[in-house]
């Protein structure tokens, strides 16, 4: 063991030395390096760490550990401190990154040597790495946005600046109630979120009841409806709604033609955004609620019936109260989704601004007021966090469904006729409407100009995706190709990283006990709650200047994807890993498998479905996300979603729709490919090979 520790230490020491000597310290193209003196400290630190190899073993592990911790931690702090303290340096490059990593790992090995993490070097390294990464790419940017919010335009910090920005009339005025133009964006956001949360919860419940408590045949179809929003770029629904209800949409045209009614613009504003969000987030509520409804133990309902309660009484007094925490959870999820949503308000909002769009316009619009963007971002963040904490309480507090456990059979009580009719009456028309929105949205890509000229055409596809052959090879002449390839490339890079980080973190959370685990879990969960727009602004504030200068690169997009979507992989990993009997890990340990071997040979193979889910999710979300990305794209790195948004904002719906359709097809293909590559987990043979069992030797 001691030898293994020293091997790790020597390995990382050598990696650090090599990086120091060979890799460029700064991320500049002119190859400038820092002064020799500046590199002296990390260099000496690494050499000292290497020298520890010869530390007499009688001094024991804890001495070795302490020295490694001091050297590694000290060296890392030195690098970070000089980076932030010394002005005028270019951003740090690969060399600095690798040296800093190796110093961190030496610190982690020191921790393990002192007996933390049960002396497991791999676990120690992983915990330290994840902590630093999440700190750097989630909490540091959030700290910067908080700082940005209290900084006046001249850079001085004052509470007054924050108060002034937060109390601005534009956020909190209420003249829409008294007949004025519009209310403040703060009210708009709140009202919209409450409305959306209410409708999505109600619809989600209706769907969940239909699927679990009625003999409804087309359950498959409803399941498909829940997948669709995951693989659609966030504004396809908005586009579909415009094609139906917009100024030159079907409904208005029909009304004008039949009754000569003036075309109305009602869809642009609160009603439209509300409708679009309800379409977008009902499936999420459904997914939450189906678990809740299924979790109501049938035996409780049967007990109620044997106590002479009729169906309605059973539903009202037993089933519904049991679902209440789940309903509250679904409501809060809808609330959080709504305030974080950017795609629907930007497409349909019109004059109806919400916080997320307002943040965007104050940073890209004519105003270009980073301080204001930061303040609005902080407000949005505060809202999201409050909802998040309330949700954690609700979910953590009363978990009725777990009490009577599974496995006690029984059949769920049929719904009372009134509830049943209501659930069907709500769910079915809604499902039809959703499908027709998708249908129309896709059809819109094949006509000349929606609302004016319905001649079938492939014009939009050609414009976006035309390809020409020449002597020199293929020319990707369509206007969309550039952003298409960028998106594909960045999503393919980000997906495996996201999945790996998420699953590794899940492993640490579920399977390891260590000091600070609760804080670690809290930090990773917290990054769930941060709305994308806030991340976007905070990344601009944090990574636009040295020492970490990433804006305008592909790296910042990949980093953003990884840390935005990592919680999804984490959740999939946690859920799957909780299903795996911990004694499997323990068996591996008693058989001599170290944590890395156990992870690789036992846990990962059993986690295949979760790995697929994490890969698919992170890939798909990297392709469809818009809120954070829109702040981070650059001329060199334009993404599909931002390209589409700009087409929409220009009124160029045809190309936007064509592009969205292509993305959907692409994502379906990618999901299939990932399934194929990762493969299935095999716990049973396909064919029942179970002929009569040969008896044991003594039987």
């Amino acid at each position: 063991m001691r030898d293994a520790l020293r091997r790790w230490a020597v390995g990382w020491g050598l990696v650090g030395c090599a990086a120091l000597a060979l890799l460029p310290w700064y991320a500049t193209s002119d190859g400038a390096g820092p002064g020799k003196l500046q590199l002296l400290v990390p260099g000496l630190t690494l050499l000292a760490a290497l020298a520890l190899r010869n530390l007499p073993s009688r001094l024991g592990r804890s001495v070795l550990g302490l020295r490694l911790m001091v050297l590694g931690g000290g060296g890392f702090i030195y690098i970070a401190a000089q980076g932030w303290a010394l002005g005028g340096q270019p951003g740090m490059g690969l060399g600095a990154a690798v040296v800093a990593t190796s110093l961190l790992m030496l610190f982690a090995i020191g921790l393990a040597a002192r007996g933390f993490f049960k002396g497991d070097v791999f676990v120690a390294g992983a915990v330290v790495a994840v902590t630093v990464l999440v700190g750097l790419f989630t909490f540091y940017p959030v700290a910067r946005i908080l700082l940005g919010a209290v900084q006046g335009s001249d850079g001085s910090v004052s509470g007054g600046a924050l108060a002034e920005r937060l109390l601005a009339a534009k956020i909190w005025r209420i003249d829409c109630l008294t007949g004025g133009r519009s209310c403040g964006v703060g009210w708009n956001t709140l009202v919209l979120a409450l409305l959306t949360a209410t409708t999505t919860t109600a619809l989600g419940l209706a769907f969940a009841l239909v699927v679990t408590r009625t003999g409804f045949k087309a359950k498959r179809l409803l399941r498909v409806l829940t997948i669709l929003p995951i693989i659609t770029p966030p504004f396809v629904i908005g586009l579909g709604l415009i094609l139906i209800f917009g100024r030159s949409g079907l409904v208005n045209q029909l009304m004008e033609w039949a009754f000569a009614v003036e075309p109305s613009r009602w869809i642009y504003g609160l009603p439209g955004v509300w409708l679009a969000q309800t379409f977008s987030f009902t499936p999420v509520a459904f997914l939450v609620l189906i678990g809740v409804v299924e979790g109501v133990s049938p035996s409780l309902e049967e007990a109620s019936q044997t106590l002479r309660a009729d169906r309605w009484q059973t539903f009202r007094r037993v089933s519904l109260p049991l679902m209440r925490p789940g309903l509250a959870n679904a409501f809060l999820v809808g609330f959080i989704e709504s305030i974080a949503d950017f795609g629907n308000p930007i497409v349909l909002g019109g004059n109806f601004g919400v916080l997320s769009t307002e943040v965007f316009f104050s940073i890209v619009g004519a105003q270009l007021d980073q301080g204001r963007a930061a303040a609005l971002g902080v407000l949005l963040l505060a809202l999201a966090l409050v909802a998040f904490f309330v949700q954690r309480r609700v979910v953590g507090g009363k978990n009725y469904t777990a009490i009577s456990g599974k496995g006690d059979g029984g059949r769920p009580a049929p719904l009372p006729p009134f509830v049943r009719r209501l659930a069907f009456g709500v769910a079915l028309p809604w499902a039809v409407l959703t499908l027709s929105i998708y249908g129309l949205a896709l059809a819109g890509g094949f006509v000349e100009t929606w609302g004016r000229d319905y001649t079938p055409t492939l014009r939009h596809y050609v414009k976006a995706f035309s390809v020409e052959w020449s002597q020199t090879g293929i020319i990707w002449s369509g206007s969309a190709w550039r952003s298409f390839w960028t998106t594909l490339e960045l999503a393919s890079v980000a997906a495996p990283l996201t999945a790996a980080l998420g699953i590794l973190t899940a492993y640490l959370l579920v399977r390891q006990r260590f000091v600070g685990r609760a804080a670690f879990e809290f930090a990773t969960m917290l990054s769930f709650a941060i709305p994308g727009t806030v991340i976007g602004v905070s990344y601009i504030l944090a990574f636009n200047v040295p020492p970490i200068e990433l804006t305008g690169t592909g790296t910042i997009l990949v980093v953003c994807f990884v840390f935005r979507n990592m919680p999804v992989g984490l959740r999939a990993g946690v859920a799957a890993m909780s299903q795996i009997d911990p004694s499997l890990d323990e068996a591996s340990r008693t058989l001599g498998g170290r944590s890395l071997a156990t992870l690789r040979r036992v846990i990962l193979p059993l986690l295949r479905p979760a790995v697929v889910a994490a890969l698919v999710y992170s890939f798909v979300r990297a392709m469809t996300t818009v809120s954070a990305v829109i702040f981070l794209v650059s001329a060199d790195y334009d993404m599909a979603t931002t390209y589409i948004i700009h087409r929409v904002l220009n009124g160029d719906y045809g190309v936007a729709i064509a592009y969205s359709s292509v993305l959907i097809v692409l994502m379906l293909a990618a999901i299939g490919l990932i399934q194929l590559l990762v493969g299935e987990r095999r716990l049973r043979r396909a064919a029942p090979a179970l002929t009569p069992l040969p008896a044991g030797p003594t039987a």
């Binding site: 063991m1 497991d120 004694s583 068996a587 340990r589 716990l683 044991g696 039987a699």
Partner: protein
């Protein structure tokens, strides 16, 4: 690296706390190399925790653990050369039986061929050679148990730990499996620690038994000692049914004393108790029902009777309290209300500390 000799196990003043819960409190015992010792006790008394501490799956809060004389307190499970058979067997569901058994040698760095060879040998040792290519889900419970044992044995551990190995088997398989484990242990001469909550299982399999209660060791000794002379009420009750009655002790010498129970007197080890009123535990089969009331016998009335096939069970009201009595005389059952005389055999009666 692997040391083929069986190792002794020594716990000194071991305590394990989970937050505010003390799962194991100040436990000390020594297990001789090559013996089979059971940890016996009711659910939640800390048996599994003790076993996991020996395996290195948990770290002690305080105290020391030695294996074969070496202090292993700070070592993790991976470095202790201790194998464990889990209650759920913990067979890797995605690996074949052979791969499961070859897992230890593989992660220990052996070549694929050598690992497979030793795995086949270990499987043959438990009589499962022909099932090597199956998946665990395709085996019966008893077969899975054997695979788990083979997997644990393939590394030639110095100590083998079993956590309630029979709890997932049906009643008929249990005795057979128990005998197999005992035979295997004696054949290989390894040290085995065996956790169970079933006193019959413990009596049937062990060289020594360590009875635990509320996170501490209640009593330790050979099976017969524990059954016949339990130290206290808890052990007496847990090692089988026991009647607890009042008696009067009068010491005779430094070992024995005369105990008067109702009208009966017996000479028993006084176990360091002072003269005067004492508690006495009497096993149900130590009370004999004799035909007619005679001098020096207890009088009683049958309250309830139950026929259990191989024996009768009676509740008998007597002058020393209600007694639970078993009798092999199934052919001449007594009806409730019958008057009987009772006397005591020589075994199964002991003074207990209150």
């Amino acid at each position: 690296m692997t040391d083929r000799r069986a190792a002794s196990i020594e716990l000194s003043r071991v305590t394990k706390q989970y937050g505010s819960v003390t799962a194991v409190r100040d436990v000390s015992f020594t297990i001789a190399a090559g013996s089979l010792v059971t940890l016996l006790g009711p659910s939640g008394c800390g048996k599994t925790t003790t076993l996991r501490l020996i395996a290195g799956l948990e770290t002690v809060t305080s105290g020391r653990i030695r294996l074969g004389g070496d202090d292993v307190t700070a070592l993790g499970a991976t470095e202790r050369n201790v194998s464990m058979v889990f209650q759920s067997y913990a067979l890797f569901p995605h690996m074949s039986v052979l791969d499961n058994v070859a897992y230890g040698p593989r992660v220990g760095g052996q070549s694929h061929r050598r690992a497979t060879e030793s795995a086949r040998a270990a499987l043959a040792g438990v009589g499962l050679a022909e099932l090597a290519d199956r998946l665990p889900s395709e085996l019966s419970g008893g077969q899975q148990q054997r695979v788990a044992i083979a997997r644990a044995l393939v590394l030639e551990p110095r100590v083998l730990l079993f956590d309630e190995p029979l709890s997932n088997l049906d009643a008929r398989l249990r005795r057979q499996m128990r005998e197999e484990i005992r035979a295997l242990q004696q054949r290989l001469g390894i040290t085995v620690v065996y956790v169970t909550h079933d006193q019959e299982e413990a009596l049937g399999v062990s060289d020594r038994i360590i009875v635990m209660n509320h996170a501490v060791v209640a009593q330790e000794g050979p099976p017969r000692d524990l059954y016949e002379s339990p130290d206290d009420v808890f052990v007496a009750g847990f090692m089988g049914e026991a009647n607890r009655v009042k008696g009067v002790l009068q010491r005779l010498d430094d070992r024995t004393g005369r105990v008067t129970i109702g009208g009966l007197t017996r000479t028993l080890p006084h176990r360091g108790l002072a003269d005067g009123a004492v508690d006495v535990a009497i096993r149900p089969e130590a009370i004999l029902i004799v035909g007619q009331p005679t001098d020096g016998a207890l009088r009683g009335t049958v309250k309830r009777a139950a026929y259990l096939g191989s024996r009768m069970e009676y509740s008998i009201a007597s002058e020393i309290g209600e007694l639970f009595v078993t009798s092999p005389a199934v052919d001449t059952p007594l009806a409730p209300g019958a008057t009987v005389a009772l006397t005591l055999t020589g075994h199964g009666i002991t003074l207990i500390r209150p």
